[in-house]
């Protein structure tokens, strides 16, 4: 088949931010998948709740301290997270480096808090269906925390070494920030389900 050159694309940029990028869309895709898994896990929680006369069944609900601390920390972490995203979009490498390190520190701190959360649930996963679902939901969220902390650690190494000069690393910083927003957004309804709902019913 003959061809007919109609347009030159060589002057198009090789790097964009947000929805111009493939990785942004890929991240959104996986956020949709994982977000929907959280939604279904939440439905399971409510479904199982309907099977019981008392909720929690014969034990106190999870203690508020660590879970509330987690909520406060996660919500506050949005500020440095948004800052990291802005610095990366502005291609401010030195400040992006600091922001990534701050986010890494916050991530590690959330894992410490999560450890203590697991110790005050007042139920084990094999006690009854109530225990099974709250351990599973908390475990699912912990998996996201661990993944994001690992991801941020690798990113920190990259951005502090010679790889940091590649503008694509800054794109990684913005995508990582978006993913953290999701991890926080997923937590808030989980906190309500696990900690507040049992006290309200």
């Amino acid at each position: 088949m003959e061809r007919n050159f109609v347009r030159d694309v060589s002057h198009l940029p090789t790097h964009g931010h947000g929805p111009s990028n493939l990785t942004w869309w890929g991240t959104i895709g996986f956020i949709l998948i994982e977000g929907f898994a959280f939604v279904l896990a939440g439905f399971t929680y409510l479904y199982l709740m309907m099977q019981f006369q008392h909720w929690p069944p014969g034990m106190p609900p999870p203690e508020l301290l660590w879970g509330t601390l987690m909520t406060v920390l996660l919500v506050l972490s949005l500020a440095p997270n948004v800052w990291a995203k802005r610095m990366a979009e502005r291609e401010d490498v030195p400040r992006s480096r600091i922001a990534v390190l701050v986010m890494l520190a916050i991530g590690v701190l959330t894992l410490v808090i999560r450890w203590f959360e697991f110790t005050v649930l007042n139920v084990l996963w094999d006690s009854n269906a109530y225990g099974s679902i709250i351990w599973t939901i908390l475990g699912l969220h912990t998996l996201h925390l661990v993944t994001d902390v690992g991801d941020t650690a690798v990113l920190a190494v990259l951005i502090l070494t010679k790889h940091g000069k590649d503008p694509r690393r800054l794109g990684d910083v913005t995508d990582n920030a978006m993913y953290w927003n999701f991890v926080v957004a997923a937590w808030v309804p989980i906190y309500a389900l696990l900690y507040l709902l049992p006290r309200a019913v």
Binding site: R3, F5, D8, V9, L12, D126, S132, R168
Partner: protein, 645 residues
Amino acid sequence: MSPKDSHPSDELRDGPGLNEDETCRRLERTWGTAPGLWGWLTTVDHKLIGRRYIVTGFVFFLLGGILALLMRLQLAQPEGTLVGPDRYNQIFSMHGTTMMFLFAVPIMEAMAVYLVPLMVGTRNIAFPRLNAFSYWVYLAGGIMLYVAFLLNTGPEAGWFSYVPLSGPEYSPGKRTDFWAQMITFTEVAALAVAVEVIVTVLKMRAPGMSLNRVPLFVWSMLVTSFMVVFAMPSIMLASSFLIMDRLIGTHFFNPAEGGDPLLWQHLFWFFGHPEVYIIFLPALGMVSSIVAAMARRPVFGHLPMVLALIATAFLGFGLWVHHMFATGLPRLGVSYFTAASMMIAIPSGIQIFCWIATLWDGQPQWRTPLLFVVGFVVIFVLGGLTGVMLASVPFDQQVHDTYFVVAHFHYVLIGGAVFPLFGAFYFWFPKITGRMLSERLGRWNFGLFFVGFNVAFFPMHLLGMVGMPRRVYTYPAELGWAGMNLTATIGALMIAAGVALFIVNVLVSLRGGRIAGPNPWGAGTLEWATSSPPPSYNFAHIPVVEGLEPLWDSRGRLPVVHGLRVEEREVLLTTVVDAHPDLREPSPRPTIWPLLSALAITVLFIGSIFTPSAVVWGSIPLAVGLIGWFWPKRSRTPTEPVVES
């Protein structure tokens, strides 16, 4: 020099400034897969991975078919002794599991992996390494399940593994654990492909291919991929609950501790019913491609066709309870699901009529692909009719768990998916291999399959109505079911002969088939604009699209853009709705890391069947694999300075 000042013209680019042979030679060097085993293991070419995915899916189809034949031979006469009850349980569970999870969904996605990048006019799929990873994970899951089966540890509780039958009490041992982990493998693979397809369709379309010019097959894969995104988390969650109940003592499905077996059915069918459409929608896209090419006119009613696909997808999520009519749910809820189930006939009807109108108005060439489309329409309409019957609760309760249901879903699934798939094999085989399949063998293939199918499955309607339950390994002679069962078995053997003929056709045509050329059917979509089989880089220059059927619209002089690099892998990104050129984006080169990561995840998944601690120690090699995968690689040539917008 700041990157912003640089002019990108130092690099070699495709276009009028570079000799055509030189362009192709350099593109081949940049995009080609290295020969030999290393190249085979590391390739990220969507065509090589797609082809491998298709062949693997077809092998699982043959294995599932052999299991079906074993069942039919066992049931050919009353009190058969070929297979005992325990083995029979494993065989029907393996048959359903294979056909749904290892054949139907993967092969539809495989066709998309091969075809979608070509049809939207780009050089490779989005996230090509994820694509390679997806294939290896799928392969590992399938092999694991069959090794377990050969060691007498195959799943035994049916393809939907209802609790409590599949729970720790009634299915001791590891059989159901292998089933549950097979789910994890195949769903990880399917979700990865879904994301790739969504991003490829949204961001990598050729300039000018605005959403209203996207081919129907690509639309169908886009909609399917979104369905995968929302359906698969449900089954992953359900199978995780199941395996946790079995291995670490949770109580999700244990009523003694507040769990509920019906929770399994809700979660399973919230996935399971959309699953049917995940298999069926791609087939509709294939039918549209075939019908347009064979009738030599665009499909009648392009917009209603797209809307019908989307409507089917939405309705598909509102039907799951019709699998649970026999569980005693509240009547109001059941009525809603009856209405929704009947409503699905509307978009299906619209599509059927649009195809008929297309053929009516066109000049159809009655070649083998079109024969399979006709077979599809006939069989699928029959399956749809029994579907409307089953949507009514009293009838459903009468024939629940009988061969009537077996007949219904084989009419829907084989009619709705396998017939179009075979049509698609005949239609795109020349694109993939460069040679035509034999028409004569194709007609015999179709005839045997079509007649055999009806001989095998029509009697099952009647068997179900006279009360033969599904999943029984034998029946006494006094019930009078022998004649119809023998008929069904004869039909099954005819199907087998038809499939065998297809394999012969493929083997013969691969060597001696007629050379196809770029566009043997005179079709209008972009995959036919390049040679058959396509070169590693798909298109020497990225085409520009001006209508629904670019090759028909351009009348032999295809408009193209130029200016992509030929020494580095580069793809063109366009805007989501209008497909305006937006960015030039590097595309990943071959690497071994997706295979290593897939092996690591295999160790983790299989290990976790035997010890929960595998989830912890197994994550270490997986993390190593993923870090190696994402670690920045050195480019072959000095990188181009970044060009900012």
